[in-house]
């Protein structure tokens, strides 16, 4: 993956039911302080333009289908990055009535980033493994 991308990584962000804690951290990796764009990373508006998905939050029932459809819309080969503990194992929401499951229960996950929420440094380091920069 890292070899294929070599310095260019575009992801489509999907909030599958997050508390928006992870969103704040993702927003801040593109801020002047962390500036993930210098490693060739960008968030894309369309999954068609992306190399994969950046999924946050436990997957709620209403977001399970949209998540599958979004995954389906990404051209091959595609990666799924589960950001935060909720995305990995539903975190504090595990067992809640509206939750379908973790991201891995809905779409195949290639990379997990732990933390509640993970700090920007962790996210960038993990993503740099994907883009090979």
């Amino acid at each position: 993956m890292a070899k294929r991308n070599r310095g260019s990584l575009q992801l489509r962000h999907v909030d599958a039911g997050s508390c928006n804690g992870c969103e704040l951290e993702i927003a801040s990796i593109f801020s002047p302080v962390y500036d993930a764009e210098r490693f060739g990373m960008r968030l894309e508006a369309s999954p068609r333009h992306a190399d994969g998905l950046l999924v946050t939050g436990p997957v709620t029932r209403n977001m399970a289908d949209p998540l599958r459809k979004t995954f389906e819309a990404v051209p091959n080969p595609r990666v799924v990055v589960a950001v935060g503990d909720c995305a990995r194992n539903c975190g504090v929401f595990s067992g809640a009535y509206g939750v379908e499951g973790a991201v891995a229960d809905v779409v195949p996950v290639d990379l997990e980033i732990p933390g509640c929420p993970p700090d920007p440094q962790t996210i960038i380091t993990a993503l740099r493994g994907l883009s090979g920069t």
Binding site: P47, D65, P66, A73
Partner: protein, 668 residues
């Protein structure tokens, strides 16, 4: 030989009309259509011969028309229009073979249609006022009857027929007065004699004749503000008829203005031509704006005819303006550009109207908002529409591009002149041309993109099937010509130059360079459509090869991306109305769209909305602000006048007495 062909063309045309009226139902249509095609073919051969040799076809006979006799002379200028009508006629007639419905198979229609085509072939040959007006009226009446063939089933047809009848007769009246004015003041009604003596006429006669003639021909050509019948009549006419009207009949309006303005009157003062340019710019802008915001496919095409007529008038006006200020070569270039646009407009508008009729037949609707996905379902017809549309949008390597380019060149090279009229008129003309061009591109993207691409928006569109082979062939002939003329304009340019020279009687060398390219003699640089086509083809092939090499696997088909929502249906797509909405808003002051929002509230509380209905409509501003009030006023006046004759015999006797006294007073 050409003179014989003229007689032959007329005779075949009339006989096909007779066959249409009398032959038994089983063979009626095929026989009359075959004969009409033969008439068109003979007309085309005659026109080509005249264009080639320059020897006019002449027929004079005193037997057919009272007083004046029938007098026909087909020179190169007229021959160009005959050739155009013949080509459109062949396309439309081949199309007619497979076209069903809308009442064209009735005995009346089978008799009238060949007659209409024949008049289209003969009008440009008329050489005196009576012959011309006779053929012109015959063309008007036959086309009116053809518009009306379906009036029993649809009330819009009857209304369209009324508008057309009134406007065309108004135009004919203006023509009659204008031409008779010329004939009486020159003492002869032959065109040649008028042309020889018209320069000595008083300015007042010349001016009023020209204005009347512009009004008369302009109403036939669909010039704003006399265009109101066109977006009604052309869509309601049966497919082949609408193609003939839009692609061949409106040309004769341009023919008339040039024939009288340049030919009979031998040019005139600058204000004539500034008037024509202003009307042209107005028509171009108004037509393109309405066609860009219309969602009825045939109405859209009808308005685009007004738009293209506007461009032609812009060219005619520029040509006259150059001539009146002494720029003879440029005047010829502008006229050549105009005539090229006449030829090219005929082929692309013909293919557009024919393929639009096919689409209408395939889907059962002409509302763009109910089409979509047709390029996959009716591939050939869809491609024909696309080719015709891109040619109209002046896309490179299709024909419309060449004529617009040449018109731009004429305006550009006219600019360095010191004449203030030219200095002001040309930039505005170019601006109008450019805005029209941009709006036409938008129109075509809308018509082709909404109508042919994406998902089908109705069951009619989803279940559409390709139309019959002759309908495809008829439209394909014209679409192929769009491409051929676009790549190789040298096939028509020399003939058009000859035609333009014959009407202006300008004894100047050919202002264009010959060969594969189109350009002005003595100017650096030229347009090379063939070269551009080849270069584009090579570039696109190379890029396609590169794509194939980088990604050999074909594209994966998957559901369209709709933000992950469940339903990704056709109702989510943009419609033609929504496509034109930004433009409607930008030009709100001109278009004045009417919005209507009906909200009904729930019984329990006014805060709950039960249903909301939004309705928006775009009327023609001229129709609403000029024609409607005028027709209402006329109606009131008629109602008042009707009170005067109340049936009392005494009153009528009194009228007679009063009239007698008035006459005696006036005469005495």
């Amino acid at each position: 030989m050409t003179s014989d062909l003229l007689v032959v063309t007329a005779l075949i045309g009339l006989s096909s009309s007779a066959v249409g009226a009398m032959a038994p139902l089983r063979i009626r249509m095929h026989l009359s259509v075959a004969l009409t095609i033969a008439a068109c073919a003979s007309g085309f051969v005659m026109a080509a011969e005249v264009l080639h040799t320059g020897r006019a076809a002449v027929v004079h006979t005193t037997a057919l028309l009272p007083q004046s006799g029938l007098s026909m002379v087909l020179d190169r200028f007229g021959a160009l229009f005959v050739a155009v009508s013949a080509v459109v006629g062949i396309g439309a007639m081949v199309f007619r073979l497979g076209y069903h419905g809308q009442g064209l198979s009735s005995r009346t229609a089978s008799c009238i249609l060949p007659l209409f085509v024949t008049t289209l072939l003969l009008v440009p040959a008329a050489a005196n006022v009576t012959t011309f007006l006779f053929l012109w009226e015959l063309m008007a009446v036959t086309s009116l009857l053809l518009v009306l063939v379906d009036h029993r089933r649809r009330s819009e047809v009857a209304s369209a027929g009324q508008w057309y009848a009134v406007m065309t007769q108004f135009g004919a009246a203006a023509l009659l007065v204008g031409l008779v004015l010329l004939a009486t003041h020159t003492g002869s009604q032959s065109f040649a004699a008028i042309a020889a003596r018209s320069t000595h006429l008083p300015a007042g006669v010349r001016d009023s004749a020209f204005v009347l003639v512009v009004v008369g021909f302009g109403s036939k050509a669909g010039m704003v503000p006399l265009h109101v019948w066109l977006p009604r009549a052309h869509p309601e006419a049966p497919g082949p008829v609408s193609a003939l009207m839009s692609a061949a009949m409106v040309n004769l309006g341009i023919y008339g203005i040039v024939r009288v303005g340049d030919g009979l009157l031998g040019g005139g003062p600058a204000w004539w031509w500034l008037l024509v340019m202003a009307l042209g710019a107005l028509s171009a802008l108004f037509g393109s704006l309405h066609s860009a915001t219309s969602s009825d496919l045939k109405r859209l095409l009808a308005y685009s005819t007004t738009d293209n007529v506007g461009l032609m008038l812009l060219g005619v006006g520029a040509s006259g303006l150059f001539a009146s200020t002494g720029h003879r070569a440029l005047a010829l270039v502008a006229l050549v550009a105009t005539l090229l646009h006449v030829v090219f407009h005929a082929v692309f508008k013909g293919s557009l109207f024919l393929s639009a009729s096919s689409l209408q037949q395939a889907t059962g609707t002409r509302d763009l908002d109910r089409m979509g996905g047709l390029l996959r379902r009716v591939p050939l017809t869809g491609t024909i529409f696309l080719v015709g549309g891109l040619a109209m949008a002046a896309m490179p390597v299709l024909c419309g591009f060449v004529s617009e380019w040449l018109l731009l060149q004429a305006m550009l090279h006219g600019l360095p002149s010191s004449d203030p009229a030219i200095a002001v008129a040309m930039p505005i003309g170019v601006g109008a041309l450019a805005l029209t061009g941009g709006l036409t591109a938008l129109t075509i993207v809308k018509a082709a993109g909404i109508g042919l691409l994406g998902q089908p928006r109705s069951t009619g569109a989803a279940e559409a099937h390709e139309v019959g082979p002759s309908m495809r062939l008829g439209a394909a002939i014209l679409a192929t010509l769009c491409l051929v003329f676009g790549v190789a304009p040298f096939l028509v340019v020399p003939s058009v130059v000859d035609a333009a020279r014959s009407v202006t009687r300008a004894r100047i060398p050919d202002p264009l360079v010959g060969g594969w390219q189109v350009g002005l003699a003595g100017v650096h640089g030229a347009l090379a459509p063939g070269l551009l086509a080849l270069a584009l083809l090579i570039a696109v092939t190379l890029v396609a090869g590169a794509r194939r090499m980088l990604q050999p696997t074909p594209a994966r088909r998957t559901q369209a991306w709709g933000c992950g929502r469940d339903l990704q249906t056709a109702t989510m797509e943009y419609t033609a109305t929504s496509f034109g909405e930004p433009l409607t808003r930008v030009f709100e002051d001109v278009l004045r769209p009417a919005h209507d929002l009906d909200v009904s509230h729930a019984a329990e509380s006014r805060y709950y909305v039960e249903a909301a209905r939004f309705h928006t409509s775009l009327d023609d501003a001229f129709e609403r602000h000029a024609y409607r009030p005028a027709s209402v006023g006329l109606g009131r006046w008629g109602a008042l006048a009707r009170r005067v004759p109340n049936g009392s015999i005494h009153r009528y006797l009194a009228f007679g007495l009063v009239a007698l006294i008035v006459v005696l007073v006036v005469v005495g």
